[in-house]
Amino acid sequence: MHVPIPSATLGRFAVNIGRPKRIIEVEPISLPLPDPSVPMPEPGKAPVEPMPVPVEPPVP
């Protein structure tokens, strides 16, 4: 099977995104940071459920 290498293989091209149009001040976003109490799963494995914390019954 012949698969041609496209001319872009030579491509050391930077992408030209044209002329600037406007400046936008965008508010910060919150990243999807993991919960530190939950151990990180190994790749390809299901995440481990955190152990439930026992709750002391209220003292009358």
């Binding site: 992408v15 995104i17 002329r19 600037p20 406007r22 936008i24 508010e27 790749p43 390809g44």
Partner: protein, 191 residues
């Protein structure tokens, strides 16, 4: 217009509470065992996009200004359209990235102060160059030394090997794709 006159004088300025989401490609690096995956700019090995940390633009041309600067080409680049990215060098990962902070909108894309990937998928760069996002999904990811990881479909792996581009190790593309998304805690890009 004189080259000494800043373009920023002519630009409208706006504000947004929502991040801008744009197309982007990255190079991919990782260890010989396929771990420690890192998204890297296609234009160089410096300043990787680290997992769980916002990428922040810096300018290597002029350290005296913050990035992005209207009169420079610095900043984290993203595009409106995916097809324009077919011209990028060594795209291993295609995705949608959230951009925020100071963002300069251009005719075909953006330059931003901060960014973080939102959706990711590995692509065969040879297919992507030819057919854009509709290329064949990669079957394997090759480790080529110097921590470079390159996804291939089977025909382009064969072609690469014929031209002496011999990966030292091969991983199933699905495994690297999943590990990459778990590393960055993002969803898959359905294309």
């Amino acid at each position: 217009m004189s080259p000494n006159v800043s373009l920023s004088r002519d630009l409208r300025v706006g504000a947004s509470t929502e991040p801008i989401v744009a197309w982007r490609t990255w190079a991919l690096s990782g260890r010989r065992d396929g771990t420690d995956l890192l998204l890297r700019p296609v234009a160089g090995r410096s300043h990787p996009w680290k997992p769980l940390v916002p990428a922040e633009a810096t300018c290597k041309h002029a350290r005296m200004h913050g990035a992005p600067n209207v009169d420079c080409s610095c900043g984290l680049h993203g595009t409106h359209d995916v097809d324009i990215l077919r011209r990028t060098r060594c795209p291993a990962v295609l995705g949608r990235a959230a951009l925020w902070g100071r963002v300069i909108e251009h005719e075909l894309g953006y330059r931003a102060q901060f960014g973080y990937p939102q959706l990711l998928t590995v692509v065969c760069q040879f297919c992507f160059w030819q057919w854009g996002a509709h290329g064949t999904a990669p079957a394997v990811v090759g480790w080529l030394g110097r921590d470079d990881l390159v996804p291939f479909c089977w025909p382009h792996l064969e072609l690469a090997q014929r031209y002496g581009m011999e990966p030292r190790r091969l991983f199933p593309a699905e495994e690297i794709d999943l590990r990459l998304r778990e590393t960055y805690v993002v969803d898959t890009l359905a294309i």
